[in-house]
Each structure stands twice: as C-alpha cells, then as structure tokens.
C-alpha cells in the first residue's frame, strides 16, 4: 500500500444551514481531504493553523492516524470561514473570510513529503499548487481541485497547473466557466485535452462524469434522503479518491474509476452532519453497503440484439 499526501487548508468554520448551526468547528479542504484519505491509506497533511487552533481538533486528526508533521502552527489566528446555505443548499454564501495565518501559507515540502506519489492538492492559489507540483520528485497521481475564484482571477496560472496534474476535479459550474460552454461534455473533453489523464466533473446530487482517453463514464450520486450540511463533500470525495488509488498503488484508468465510486460513497456520509462529525464515525459495513448500493443503482439489464433492430413496417 502506498501513502497519501494532502495539501490545503485547515480552518475553523462557522456554518448555518436549514438544519442547524456550528461555531468554529473543524473545517478546511485538507481536514476533510486527509480524514477521508486516512480510511484507505496512511496519510500526511501539509497545512497551517494559528496558535488558537483547538487541541481537540488535533486529536481528531491524530486519532485517524494522520501524520501531522506538516501541520505548521504559526503565530496568529487560524483561517476562519463563516457562511450559510439557504433552503436548497446548492450554494454556499460567505459571511466573512478571515485568512489569518493562511494568508502567508507556503507549502514547502520536506524531502520525504516530496517523494510522496499520491497527492491531493486541494483548492489553494494555483501559484502554490504549481510550487507543490514542482517539488514532487516521482508523482504517480496528483489530484487537483480549484474554485471559481481562481478561474476568474488566475486562469493562466491555473491552466499551467492543470497541464501538470493527473486528475482534475471541477464542479459543473466551474467547468462551464473555465471552458466557456454550456455543454459539460464539451467542457470535460476540452479539459482532458489540456493534459490530465482524467477529468472528473462533479454534479452534486446528479453524481459525476469521468472523462478519460477511453471515453466518458457516469457515476450516480448515492441516493441520500437527508443532508444537513454540504460543506466538505468535494474535499471528502477527492481525499478518499486519492487514498483509494494509493491503496491500489497504480493510477490506471480503471483504478481511478474504482476510486470515484469510493469517493462518491464517502462523500455521502460527510453531508449527513456538520463538520467531520459523521465522517469520523463511518463503520466499514456502512461504507461497504453504500458502495454496493451504488453498483446496484447502475445495473442496466442487457437488451438482446434482435430487439434492438427497429420495427420494420
């Protein structure tokens, strides 16, 4: 089994949804990503927090076996995001973003971290993502996430990072925005031509589309009946995907598709409660039964060849 490296933000989130609120709970892309990855492979984290970062949260991460050598503590306050979701919970609205110590985050890897082969590069400034990629000495799979902010403000740099990653993640709107097209199919194919061996377009409740040289693949979302807080779904998806490919050791197209199923199942847990509460208590049987449910959802009974011939008048 190989290991996984997760680089991104560790934050304190204050979130309000129609189902409740939390104040300064553990959040950030690297928190969600590393906890998810830790279910499948030994995981290291590279991020920064302030001196106010609660010990309780360090314990949460440590209890998942995450290597915290790369979690720097700097003088100042931890990155704090405060926001809310309206009834549909399809979009996050920001009240305040206090970058604090995260503003000067510079992910310089140790020689050991630079040798990691399975890396989830969560949503941070594309300049920093490029800086990380340039330090990696033997990457087998770099999973790249981003957001509309960088598409609007740093498209050229982002394009450079996309060229160098192995798997690009975008949500529907980001892919349409980046490629200036309404068609997700066109967007996915265009992004694939930029360099990544896989592009995954995340469509929330509609699942995801996987673009690879061999074609387009569709994976449904797990049919959730309740959702309390969508925060962290994308990072959980990406983190578990990275961890699962690390576990399988080779980033073949088929292994990537397997890992998308694993990521889909894992992301269905995180949204069932606030922060990492639900993700921290996933039982192996629950996980396995969601994976099996995803397979069952896509069982398409075969058509026999004769019945495919159109009726001749």
């Amino acid at each position: 089994m190989s290991k996984a490296l997760v680089i991104g933000s560790v934050a304190l989130d204050s979130v309000e949804t129609p189902y409740g609120t939390v104040d300064s709970s553990l959040g950030g892309s690297a928190s969600y990503g590393s906890v998810a990855a830790s279910y499948f492979a030994p995981t290291s984290l590279v991020a920064v927090v302030g001196t106010d970062f609660p010990k309780k949260y360090v314990t949460w991460l440590r209890n998942r076996g995450i290597n915290l050598e790369g979690l720097k503590v700097e003088n100042g306050e931890t990155f704090h995001w405060s926001g809310f979701y309206e009834t549909t919970m399809s979009q996050a609205f920001t009240n305040t973003t206090a970058l604090n110590v995260f503003e000067h985050f510079r992910p310089d890897l140790t020689p050991r971290q630079a040798k990691e082969r399975f890396v989830f590069l969560a949503n941070i400034d594309p300049e920093l993502q490029l800086h990380v990629i340039n330090q990696l000495t033997n990457p087998e799979l770099v999973v790249l996430d981003t957001m509309n902010f960088w598409i609007e403000g740093s498209k050229q740099t982002l394009a450079k990072v996309i060229k160098k990653c192995g798997l690009l993640l975008m949500n529907e709107e980001e892919s349409r925005q980046f490629c200036e097209t309404r068609s997700l199919i066109k967007a996915g194919e265009e992004l694939l031509k930029m360099g990544p061996r896989t592009v995954v377009i995340k469509k929330g409740e509609h699942g995801s589309l996987i673009f690879q040289k061999d074609g387009v693949f569709s994976v449904p979302a797990f049919p959730l009946r309740k959702m309390k807080d969508p925060t962290g779904a994308g990072d959980t998806f990406a983190g578990s995907l990275t961890g699962y490919v690390a576990r399988l050791r080779k980033a073949t197209p088929e292994n990537i598709r397997r890992a998308v199923i694993v990521g889909t199942a894992m992301a269905s847990f995180v949204v069932e409660d606030f922060s990492l509460k639900r993700t921290l208590r996933i039982k192996p049987d629950e996980f396995q039964s969601r994976v099996e449910a995803l397979y069952a959802m896509t069982v398409m009974p075969k058509l026999n060849g004769k019945s495919l011939k159109p009726y001749a008048k």
Copy 2:
C-alpha cells in the same frame, strides 16, 4: 409483438433557438411520441388537427406506418404553439399558444383502441387522461406524462390519474413541485407510493432516475455534443419507451429499465435538429451504437472485497 397507442396533441410549432428557427413545423406530444414508438412496435395515434393541417405531415406519420384512424380532422385550425429557447436551452418560453381545435379534444376510443395494452398518455388535461384510462379494458402499461400547468391547477385530478398509471414520468422541477421537496429521491419515492409501479424522473443532460419497488436506478444521458432544439425530447423518450415495452410484451421492472435505455438513446436524436427532421431518419446502426455507448458509460469496474476494508491504523 404487441402494439402501442399514443394519445396527445398534434401541433404546428414555430420555434426559435440559438441555432435557427422553424415556422409551423410538425410538433405536439403525440407526433413525437408516435413516431418514436413506431420504431419498435406498430403504433396508433389518437389526436385532433384542423383542416389546415398540411398533407405533408400526414405523409410523414403515414410513412412511419402509424395507424391514423384516430387522427380526427375538425373544422378550424390546428393547435399552434410558438416559443423560443435562450442560450442555455434549459427552458421553453412561450410566445403564443393557440389551442384551436385542440381546445375541445375529447379522446373517445374505438373498441379496438380501448383494447390496446401499451399506452402512452401524453401531456393533456388530467380529466382527459382519466377519461382515457377508464376506457382501457386490459392495459399492461400506461405511461403517463404531465406538466407544471396541471400540477398548479389540477393537482387533485392529476393525483387520481397517477394512482391509475403504470409508469409516471416527471421532470426534475415537476417532481419537486408536486411533492414540495428539494430531494429528488424523496420525490420519486413519494410518487411511487401513490400507485405507479415505476416512476421516472427525467433530468435532461443528467439522465434519469428510475424508482421501482426494488430500488432506485440511474441512467445517464447520451453525451451529446450538439443540440439544436430540445422540443420533443420528453415525448420521444416516452413514446419509444412505450413502444419498446410493447415489443417485449410484458411490463416487467427489468423490461421497463431496458426501455428507459432505449428511450434515452432515441431522445438524443430528436434534439439534434428541429421538429422531427432527425428522428425520421434514424438508421438502425446509429441507434444501436448509441445504446451501446450508454452501456459503456456505466461500466463500473468491480472493487475487490479486501480493498473495501478501511485501512486500519
């Protein structure tokens, strides 16, 4: 092979999309539905047109082998819809709706039509849909379509029709509106409890969800790269679905799922051109290759049991 019966509107449509315009071209739910069904089973049509209805369009339908005994010609003008789609083509906007002879459409079936077992009841007043269902003597599958207009104005009657149909079709927004929930999963399950043995929620570019006693199934949309006019996609889906189940003779849950794949493939053609232009020239090989592409899109490589066990720290 059994036969298919399609009941709905035959209309003249004037449509504008970003890709062009057509004036008084053949449209209406029963036109799209019956032409699509005719690829798979001998099909009859029940609808009404005015004396202005062009002979050319009668020939289009007749050339598909459609039994037009039920196409009444009444004094007055044919139902005429005029509308447009904006850039995203996700929603039809109406300029004018002239019901004309369709205003007094009353689908009284002949004894032979009443014996039909596979029926597509396209979007008309639920009172009329109920009137049709009550005439059917031995239905094996009644496929029901509707629209937001009836959900807003005739919900009680629509609920009665839903109870009596075998397969209910709704699009995303209709299902959310009818069930007053944001969750498509909750909506589908609630609609299923009302009586139909299958509920299909159509999600356009995101494919469809199939709800049956055995669970939820997901079918992707065919990955189209160009779309000229979305008019008729839903009716083509429903018509070919009905025709295909008729061809298979029994409305088993598996046959319904097979037919959803067929409907998905057929609907991908109609939107490639205006009116029925593209649908009327589908070649068997083209159709078969789109069905195969849909299967290929959902191939999910298996995970081996051991690799599903979460990594133990």
